[in-house]
Subunit: 77 residues, 2 copies
């Protein structure tokens, strides 16, 4: 994959981090996934190593956890 994926859950810290980081990397290079709205993608995020949101999964497959908004476990409940 050539795009990064930014997973978030719509919390204020996510939105702030999202805007800044997406701006830095370039909008066209980042797919933004709202796990609160698309819970079907939580499993995919977990497989990428995402443990909390907001998180950025890079094209290299590294999961970078940005600050700390919510754990994936909390999103499932």
């Amino acid at each position: 994959m050539s795009k990064s994926i930014f997973y978030h859950a719509g919390c204020p810290v996510c939105v702030s981090a999202e805007q800044d980081l997406i701006h830095l990397i370039g909008t066209e290079k980042v797919e933004v996934v709202h796990l609160g709205e698309k819970s079907s993608r939580i499993e995919e995020a977990e497989k990428s190593g995402v443990k909390s949101v907001p998180a950025l999964v890079t094209p290299n497959g590294n999961a970078l956890h940005i600050n700390f908004g919510a754990s994936l476990a909390d999103l499932k409940s």
Copy 2:
């Protein structure tokens, strides 16, 4: 300021995150500061809101904490 500043302390997780994130943002747009070697800049990092490394301070002044390597307090001791 127009550059982001990436603070790290040379731990493996920092180096991995660093390479990926700097590559994504663009090498010329990020200043990399090794706080283990340049402890004189810890105060500056703290003023920017950095609480742990690795962290990226964006041109907008937002401090984004990437994963968790070490707290600034640990770097001082």
